[in-house]
């Protein structure tokens, strides 16, 4: 694939598909694989109100960096949009 080189050097995901998968996650992946896509959708998409973020019908940002800054400066920390 060759795409692993794009990732941060200390966080490269191994191209080898044999990386350890926690057993409980593997069970969940297996269960999801048995469900049709329509069912996966029903379980996966939820909607809860996000303060500030949901309070405008339209926002556009010239750059992605500008959007990230806006999130950090305007959204509550607990929403998790702040960069680490």
């Amino acid at each position: 694939m060759g795409t692993a080189s794009k990732l941060a050097s200390n966080e490269v995901v191994s191209d080898a598909p044999s990386a350890a998968i926690p057993p409980d996650w593997r069970e969940e992946f297996d269960a999801a694989a048995r469900r049709p896509l329509r069912t996966r959708f029903r379980y996966s998409f939820i909607h809860t109100y996000k303060p500030v973020l949901d309070d405008a019908p339209f926002r556009a940002f010239d750059t992605t960096a500008e959007y990230r800054r806006w999130c950090e400066e305007n959204l509550p920390d607990w929403l998790g949009y702040g960069r680490v």
Partner: protein, 158 residues
């Protein structure tokens, strides 16, 4: 506003196809299409930025029921890096320049077709989340990386 539904994803797929738009599902919504069991709130679309694609995108969004003013339509046509839509039948993020992916064409060459839905490769989804480096991405990355390993083992294509 309810949760994003499969029927609405189909509407995006079919309408965007009719309008000839080049785009990819990205982010957690893309991972879910690939089979990742997790939750998210809205759909993220990586849209190719070129004048023809962006003009067609405005028409497609209006067909889907998004109420765009002329100014808003103009901003989409200009291909701003990030557009957040909450003025339609569902929430939608349009991303023209995602973190961690240099060119749309690169992602397109690697993309996966899942029942007609064009989806970024899991490596691009992970690369984008790593580059974005938000708290919420950091929290979901270990599980997403495990899913990548699983997905490769199974040779799955959605």
């Amino acid at each position: 506003m309810g949760a994003f539904e499969y029927r609405q994803a189909e509407e995006i797929r079919d309408t965007f196809s009719q309008h000839g738009i080049r785009y990819l599902f990205i982010g957690k919504s893309g991972a879910i299409l690939l089979g990742f069991p997790d939750t998210t709130q809205d759909a993220d679309l990586f849209v190719e930025r070129n004048p023809q694609n962006c003009r067609a995108l405005v028409g497609a969004l209006r067909s889907l029921g998004f109420e765009l003013t002329e100014n808003q339509a103009a901003e989409i046509e200009r291909g701003k890096d990030f557009v957040q839509l909450k003025n339609g039948p569902f929430d939608l993020d349009l991303i023209f320049a995602p973190d961690g992916i240099e060119r749309f064409d690169d992602a397109w060459q690697r993309h996966i077709d899942v029942e007609g839905f064009p989806v970024c490769h899991i490596d691009d989804i992970i690369a984008s989340k790593l580059a974005t480096n938000r708290q919420k991405d950091r929290e979901s990355l270990p599980r997403l990386q495990s899913f990548r390993a699983y997905w490769l083992q199974k040779g799955r294509r959605g």
